[in-house]
């Protein structure tokens, strides 16, 4: 039997930190707040590591039951945790990256007046995220799901005095709600048809079912609805619009929540429910298509962005698209693999970007940067590592994961692969564009004296750093950068594909979760072209496959280097070219610059009609003319009636007695009548 791991400690530690900081942080010193926040998040990380060490000795999936939550009839939900390879990976990523970002935030947020609030929120986020990851059933997962939404809302709107921040937070929350709507309906369907939300029971009852190859069935519907939820949380088309705005939050938040952990919750959720998806090929296709489209689409937007964080945001969206593409083609382990590496290098990118912004005094526009290579070497080098990683330059973590995805997607359908490769090219292009614009050429910003005065420091956390001069960030910020840099370099080697002489250990590790759960063979042939059969990744692969895989690897590498070259051409050797290009393609450029006017489109299509509807019908119509009217009329009616009846209540005791007597006479008469009638 399993030893008691006390998993519940892992989420509860950050919660305790959040509570302590939230209640007492206002009065306690920054040092105290720092200590608390670091201690609890670090403790969670240590605990996760300890669990990882004990992991081999566990019989999986390891489950912990704490208490009954709901009970109605046969349906019951418990507070239960569920640990297997998948959630272990997520656990390590969340706690590890989270802890690093905590450390980073100390330096970054030091000058902020509501320092304690930030860390309280951050810890709270950790709590919810861990709950989500460790949940033993969909409902507990949903708690975490909503909780991270809340935390992200709070943190995006951290500088709520800034209107854009506040509205960005609202936007994120509302868009997420749309996704949660789908998620909830999926949960209801699960309850309705499987009578339970526990992963075990649901999956046990799903496993024997055969794949719905012919037309959409229950599982398909559930899958698509789950995907809707995932779209909301993981910023996929059509619900990705909140993520770029979310960059209004402090950069560590963007790094932790909107790059590393929260936005990947959707991927986690989809791959957690892989049993369902594998039996719903149509849903899988939907996932894959959405992922592919998002990847490409967001990447193209990324090209034209000039705000450094916006670029990163769109790249995040597109990377998430990659992950969903992987899930969509049934390569869940590849998706999770990319999730992990992405957590490393994208977190690093954001942190480094934050460090850059920090250095130039709150400026976020890349056109006002440049030539920072010398001034902030640590940031430069770490950022370089991250850029190489994300662009899929061989040897870096991103390369392995992205390559894995591309290869598996090719096995599903060459279309995915093609789009994927193009996206890879674009990715490396805009990443290196960012890289060149930021660190090379000569500095295009204002004079040093301008740095970090009110306006800028208000625009991002730079309160304490009023002094001029572009300067390297303090050590407390640099160390996490370095650690993450190392991780994003070596992080990929856990999953070196067989074709490159490795034996995909990561895939093997996750194997027990994903493999063997696929529907029976004849179905898998039935879904031959799409939803790659899991078996292919197991064991040494056939030679032909190896050679082709190598070829495709080569192609993607070439694409990456092409992107690099183009960026070098445009933004390093001949910096004037881009404007020309933009001018020549002004129409396209405008469209891309304005993100394909998606926000405006949504505004015109949904938001404005909704507002008008609510104003005209709901507010002025229903609320004022029906509800308020009803209430008021009820009040007036009561008043009028009582004005009449009041006279009955003369305050004369004997009159009351008279009424009582008359009434009792009536009652007695009635009773006797009934009684005589009865006999």
């Amino acid at each position: 039997m399993n030893p008691m791991l006390n998993l519940w400690l892992i989420p509860l530690l950050p919660l305790a930190g959040a509570a302590i900081n939230g209640f007492f942080g206002k009065r306690s010193s920054r040092k105290a707040v720092t200590t608390v926040a670091l201690f609890f998040s670090g403790a969670a990380f240590a605990m996760a590591l300890w669990v990882a060490m004990r992991f081999s000795s566990l019989s999986l999936p390891y489950q912990e039951y704490f208490a009954h939550w709901l009970r109605s009839g046969s349906f019951s939900v418990d507070f239960a945790f569920y640990l297997d390879q998948l959630s272990l990976v997520m656990l390590l990523v969340v706690t590890g990256v989270g802890f690093l970002i905590h450390v980073y935030s100390i330096g970054y947020m030091w000058g902020d007046p509501s320092y304690y609030r930030f860390f309280s929120y951050l810890n709270l986020f950790m709590f919810f995220m861990l709950t989500l990851v460790l949940a033993g059933n969909y409902l507990v997962m949903f708690i975490g799901w909503e909780g991270v939404g809340l935390a992200s809302y709070l943190l995006i709107g951290f500088w709520f005095t800034k209107d854009s921040a506040a509205s960005a937070g609202k936007k994120a929350f509302i868009v997420n709600r749309i996704g949660d709507f789908g998620f909830l309906i999926a949960l209801f369907l699960l309850i309705r048809h499987f009578g339970s939300l526990n992963f075990n029971q649901v999956f046990q009852s799903v496993l024997p079912m055969s794949a719905e190859t012919s037309g959409a069935g229950l599982l398909t519907v559930i899958g698509i609805l789950l995907m809707v939820g995932a779209c909301g949380k993981s910023a996929q088309i059509p619900l990705y619009i909140w993520l770029p705005d979310a960059m209004e939050g402090p950069t560590p938040v963007s790094a932790l929540i909107h790059a590393a952990t929260m936005v990947t919750a959707g991927v986690y959720m989809v791959s957690r429910s892989h049993v369902i998806f594998e039996r719903a090929p149509i849903a899988l296709t939907v996932v894959a298509i959405i992922g592919t489209l998002t990847a490409f689409f967001a990447a193209t937007i990324g090209i034209a962005q000039t705000d450094i964080k916006k670029v990163l945001a769109y790249s995040t969206v597109s990377q998430l698209g990659y992950m969903f593409m992987a899930c969509g083609v049934g390569a869940f382990s590849a998706g999770i693999f990319h999730l992990m590496t992405h957590a490393f290098f994208k977190g690093l990118l954001f942190l480094a970007a934050g460090s850059v912004i920090h250095a130039v005094g709150g400026e976020q526009d890349m056109r006002k940067m440049g030539g920072l290579r010398k001034k902030i070497p640590w940031t430069f080098w770490t950022m370089t590592a991250a850029t190489l990683a994300i662009s899929g330059i061989p040897g870096f973590s991103g390369f392995f994961s992205k390559d894995e995805i591309l290869w598996r997607s090719y096995q599903a359908s060459w279309v995915y692969w093609l789009v994927g490769v193009i996206t890879a090219f674009i990715t490396s292009f805009y990443m290196f564009r960012l890289w060149f614009m930021t660190f090379f050429g000569e500095y295009r910003g204002e004079a040093d004296t301008e740095h970090g005065h009110g306006g800028h420091s208000a625009s991002d956390a730079h309160g304490g750093h009023g002094h001029g001069g572009i300067h390297e960030s303090p050590r407390v910020m640099v160390i996490p950068l370095v650690v993450l840099a190392v991780l994003s370099v070596v992080g990929g080697y856990v999953g070196v594909p067989g074709s490159l002489g490795g034996n995909n250990r990561f895939d093997k590790f996750l194997g027990p979760v994903f493999h063997g759960s696929a529907p029976a063979k004849e179905h898998s042939t039935a879904l031959g072209e799409k939803g790659a059969p899991e078996q292919e990744t197991e064991g040494p692969e056939p030679q032909k496959a190896v050679s082709t895989e190598l070829m495709f690897t080569g192609i993607s590498v070439v694409a990456a280097f092409l992107g690099l070259g183009l960026a070098w051409q445009l933004y390093y050797r001949r910096p004037e070219l881009p404007d020309k290009v933009a001018a020549s393609f002004s129409g396209v450029y405008e469209v891309v610059l304005h993100k394909y006017y998606v926000d405006e489109f949504y505004g015109a299509l949904f938001v404005k009609p909704l507002i008008n509807f609510s104003t005209r019908i709901l507010w002025q119509g229903v609320d004022q003319k029906v509800i308020d009217a009803a209430v008021n009329d009820a009040g007036d009616g009561a008043k009028h009636v009582s004005d009449e009846v009041r006279h009955m209540q003369s305050g004369n005791i004997r009159s009351y007695a008279g009424w009582v007597a008359a009434g009792s006479a009536v009652v007695i008469a009635f009773m006797i009548w009934m009684w005589t009638g009865a006999r």
């Binding site: 305050g651 004369n652 005791i653 004997r654 007695a657 008279g658």
Partner: protein, 104 residues
Amino acid sequence: MVPSYVPLSYYLLLSGFLFGCGVIGFLIKRNIITIFMSIELMLNGVNLSFVAFAAHWHALAGQVFVFFVMVVAAAEAAVGLAIIIAVYRTRETLNVDQVNLLKL
């Protein structure tokens, strides 16, 4: 002496009569104290029927209920008379028709 019987109905009629007198008194009397006495009269009427039924059904519980009624009556008398005194102190009258402001 010869064992003799009185119909239960006689007792019931008597108690009903007492009760009715009590109600009438409550209705037509103007003096608060008298009204209270009318209430006591009602209670007594009820008690009589209690005891009569107790004797009729051979159930002592009826008599026990009488004790409870008495206790309630005692409490009611204590509080009621205290109220009357308070009313008199503020209103200088014992006439219910002049104590019609629903407050003391």
